[in-house]
Amino acid sequence: MEQERGLVFNLDTGELCLQSAQCKSHCCHRESGLSLARCAPKAAEMQDCSRKSLYGVYYKCPCESGLSCNADRSIVGTITNTDFGVCEDPAETKASR
């Protein structure tokens, strides 16, 4: 590993995390409010996603680069980070609209 592997940073997929900044994949993900959060890969096209947020932990990972999450914003959702959508390719959505 080029960067030094620590318990706190540069975490691999599957390692326990508290904050997305710790993960190589930049997504610290947990299934439910009660479960422990682990680093997970970003969402691919057509997969569920949540918008990038300042929060450390996501119920659904944000999209891979080049894709955008079509989750519509809601006040509650923004607070609880539960605005979910599906990853889309902006080039295709522009063309189809």
């Binding site: 599957g14 691919a44 680069s65």
Partner: protein, 449 residues
């Protein structure tokens, strides 16, 4: 010296069983009563709770049917027959086929000093041979219908049973134990003469001293699979806390903490049951050669599947030992499907950075996989290999993205004129063409030329 038991015969501790470089300490196996080998039968009639049977009339009163195959599953050192992975494996088998699934429990002989357990293996193997003999003599059941799946020391239990009861149809060795077996003659360990078809999955082949590898490295069967190279399994390098606090609970996490690589062998086999077209093994001289792209795609007669369906390849074996390589995912579900991707860049600016490709097919699409990193020159061609987490079926389009993590005010553009994707399994090639160039972090779609 020697010890004899009425049903199972005599066991000596002279060479090669002891007194050799590989087996320095002399130990005689314990008695069958002390080891108390138990046969726990699962069938479609009783998939969730086992029937305890033994090599006598109890077989006739159980759900055992002579009209179906029988698969024994044998655990290894420190383990037990009621451990989840054996019960889950039987359950999974029963979802795809109607068989007699028998978990062999010998925990009383496996939870002791390793040098003792590695000799108790011989009595447990003799018990299975005796059981199969009873099936043959009392119920006319042919040994060719028997398949023994053994993990770690359990693989050598299977070898012993196969040696004593010739004609057993198949033996699968899941990371056969290395200490006290690697380097020993074939009468001591599992080898290809122990059954008509012997397939082996190697997942922990580092030397026991000093790297604590528990599995054998040499190829000993008809087909020997070395997933991820057979030394370090993906997902096993997690830090201690993350390893122990496992999704399946602390107990499974502790087992993984102790022997993650070694236990992956049965996890891969268990997944192979529900993925009949997964885990394709590529015959190659070494894992490095495989990783750098030689031995791709599969030859005309195809590649064998590691795990449950490896016996489909039984008739096509020509050479003595066949070493097969493949990559797996880091967590379940483990199978991956390998594709070769060749990208010819377009545009007029020369940049450094990386190129990602995502594959789209009739069965879904993959995430972005990095093909090349470094200098990116238009009109040059770059080749990379993707182990996709999705079996795509026919590849319908690809998406290209590049980035170099450096803010360049000149906003350079780069594109892909052609992308050629070759599927490893069926050797089929797909050509895609692109006509634009894009800035960093913008997806460019390429469709069939």
């Amino acid at each position: 010296s020697e010890v004899c038991y009425d049903r199972l015969g005599c066991f000596s501790d002279s060479v090669p069983w002891s007194g050799t470089v590989e087996r320095p300490i002399q130990r005689l196996p314990w008695s069958p009563d002390k080891i108390d080998t138990r046969f726990l039968l699962f069938t479609r009639e009783n998939p969730d709770s086992y029937q305890r049977i033994s090599a006598d009339s109890s077989i006739g009163f159980s759900n055992f049917k002579t009209s179906r195959l029988t698969r024994f599953i044998v655990h290894g050192f420190i383990d037990k027959g009621e451990e989840n992975w054996l019960l889950d494996m039987c359950k999974r088998l029963l979802t795809v086929e109607d068989v007699n699934c028998i978990s062999v429990d010998w925990k009383k002989g496996s939870r002791c000093m390793y040098t003792q357990a590695s000799n108790n293996v011989r009595v447990v193997g003799a018990e299975i041979a005796y059981f199969v003999n009873t099936l043959k003599d009392t119920y006319g059941y042919s040994p060719a219908n028997v398949h023994i799946i053994g993990h770690s020391l359990g693989a050598h239990v299977a070898g012993e049973a196969g040696k004593r009861r010739p004609g057993i149809g198949r033996i699968t060795g899941l990371d056969p134990a290395q200490p006290y077996f690697q380097g020993t003659p074939i009468e001591v360990r599992l080898d290809k003469t122990d059954a008509e078809f012997v397939d082996v999955i190697h997942t922990d082949t580092a030397p026991t001293v000093p790297y604590l590898g528990f599995g054998m490295s040499p190829a000993i069967g008809h087909l020997d699979f070395y997933p991820n190279g057979g030394v370090e399994m993906p997902g096993c390098e997690k830090n201690a806390v993350s390893q122990i606090v496992d999704l399946d609970g602390i107990w499974e996490g502790t087992r993984d903490f102790m022997a993650c690589n070694h236990l992956r062998s049965y996890k891969y086999y268990s997944d192979s049951i529900i993925y009949p077209d997964g885990f394709l093994g590529y015959s190659c001289d070494s894992y490095n050669a495989f990783q750098t792209g030689s031995c791709f795609p599969c030859p005309a007669e195809g590649c064998p599947n590691m795990g449950h369906y490896a016996d489909r390849f039984k008739g096509k074996i020509n050479r003595d030992t066949v070493k097969l390589y493949l990559n797996t995912a880091e967590a379940k579900d483990f199978p991956l499907w390998r594709y070769k991707v060749t990208v010819t860049l377009s545009g007029n600016s020369h940049v450094t950075g990386y190129v990602n490709i995502a594959l789209y097919g009739s069965n879904g699409n993959t995430r972005q996989h990095q093909i090349v990193k470094g200098t990116l020159k238009p009109d040059n061609t770059y080749t990379g290999y993707i182990d996709a987490e999705v079996k795509l079926g026919t590849v319908t389009k690809v998406k290209f993205l590049w980035n170099n993590n450096v803010i360049n005010p000149s906003l350079p553009k780069l594109g892909a004129a052609t992308v050629v994707v070759q599927s490893g399994e069926d050797r089929r090639e797909y050509r895609f063409c692109g006509y634009e160039t894009v800035r960093e972090d913008v997806l460019l779609t390429l469709t069939a030329c």
